[in-house]
């Protein structure tokens, strides 16, 4: 199950040391690495534009005025809505603040996709365990839609 993925030589002069890393760990790390970069760019670029311009789904001035309110009261006061689910940002993707939250979504879904990748390379016992983890993670994402409150 193990593959050679790394050869190190820093502490032993010119001697190469081979480290065996399991494919499921390697795939998990590789997917995570790529998606994290994408997520960070997707979060920072529109997020910085939003902070500089102050224009978005929620205007900067309004956010500053009410950011001391608890989340439910904030949304009722600012938008007159009760938030439960993801439509508050998914329905306003032309706004830079909501686009920035898409970056957070990419980051927050990164471990799930990494787990999918790892499962392909895992042995039977770990396929089951990682499969359970994936189901639990999917529950975290779809709970608001499934449970509706």
């Amino acid at each position: 199950m193990a593959v050679v993925v790394e050869k190190e030589k820093e502490a032993v002069g010119t001697e190469l040391k081979e480290v065996l890393v399991e494919p499921m760990n390697y795939i998990f790390g590789r997917i995570m690495e790529i998606l994290t970069i994408i997520g960070l760019i997707a979060m920072f670029v529109p997020g910085i534009i939003y902070i500089i311009t102050g224009k978005g789904y929620l205007s900067r001035d309004v956010v500053v005025k009410y950011w001391d309110l608890k989340a439910s009261a904030f949304w009722e006061k600012v938008m007159g809505v009760k938030v439960f689910g993801y439509s508050w940002f998914l329905n306003h993707l032309s706004a830079t603040d909501c686009l920035s939250i898409i970056g957070v979504c990419i980051l927050a879904i990164t471990p799930l996709i990494s787990l999918f990748g790892a499962e392909i390379k895992a042995d039977k016992k770990y396929k089951i365990l990682i499969g359970i983890l994936i189901l639990e993670f999917l529950f975290a994402i779809f709970r608001p839609i499934l449970m509706g409150h």
Partner: protein
């Protein structure tokens, strides 16, 4: 801007002091900024998750962060992390003084973190005499190249059943208070399960990515995430951590560690005081 500079400072000192950024960000922001505790915890989770996501892949590819250790413990902790997020938001939104309860709770947790940093021992290479049957069946093992020894180190872990309740508690606290909780993961992995210190630290990062990401969805579904707070915070700590990591490689003065622990203690006192003031049990600061 103030938030950016605060998180930049946290990012610089955290690696030097050997603490996670989230454990400073959430209590300090609760103590000194006007934001709702909901938005602070949402930002704290994104911050802890992002920091862990930035370092975990490197450790996974080196063999230090290990899914064989992670999978059985996170199966339990992820559920408690989601539950922590749900209950944490319920407390602030269902009770008029909910945010005061959260502040007091966080202050108390911070005292525990302080004691953990002060007294808990770390064992570089724990000796394992007996491997429990479940760890044996799951074949929890790994290896990595240790430059300080100039050789490949192989290891196994044990006491999985004892570790599971601890990880359940850690997951709950992470979700409820918006923390990364590496301060709790590492001692459990190192001292209870017998994972070598480097493996424990690296696998803890991997655990944080999953626990905090799952809890993030709870906060997102409640609208408890504002780009206005998240972006400067994460940007600050991301830049700061890179500077801090470079300084930490060269020197790790003890004075910085003591300074950070003093700040942690101060934030704990402030959070508890503010919480008690919110309940009408203490005068304003």
């Amino acid at each position: 801007m103030a938030l950016f500079f605060m998180t930049l400072g946290i990012g610089i000192v955290a690696p030097i002091a050997g603490v996670g950024g989230g454990v400073l960000f959430t209590p300090l922001t609760m103590a000194f900024y006007p934001f709702s505790t909901d938005f602070i915890r949402g930002a704290g989770l994104v911050m802890a998750m992002t920091s862990a996501l930035s370092s975990a892949p490197h450790f996974a590819k080196k063999g230090l962060a290990n899914l064989r250790i992670l999978a059985p413990v996170v199966v339990v902790s992820i559920i408690f992390s989601i539950l922590g997020g749900i209950i944490g938001l319920w407390v602030t939104n269902a009770f008029p003084q909910g945010k005061s309860y959260i502040k007091i709770g966080l202050g108390l947790i911070l005292f525990v973190v302080f004691l953990v940093y002060l007294f808990s021992k770390r064992v570089e290479f724990p000796e394992i005499r007996h491997i429990d049957p479940i760890s044996e069946k799951l074949d929890i093992h790994g290896m990595w190249y240790e430059p300080s020894l100039g050789k490949v180190v192989e290891y196994k872990t044990t006491n999985l059943l004892y570790a599971l309740p601890a990880f359940a508690g850690v997951g709950f606290i992470a979700g409820m208070f918006g923390l990364g909780a590496g301060w709790a993961n590492v001692p459990v992995l190192n001292l209870v399960m017998g994972a070598p210190l480097k493996v424990a630290t690296s696998t803890s990062m991997m655990i944080i990515t999953i626990n905090d990401a799952a809890a993030c969805w709870v906060y997102m579904a409640r609208g408890a995430m504002l780009a206005m707070i998240i972006v400067p915070s994460v940007l600050g700590i991301t830049i700061g951590a890179r500077i801090g990591a470079r300084i930490a490689v060269k020197s790790r003065p003890k004075s910085i560690k003591y300074l950070v622990m003093a700040i942690m203690l101060f934030a704990a006192v402030m959070d508890i005081w503010k919480g008690l003031h919110g309940l009408g049990l203490a005068p304003p600061i």
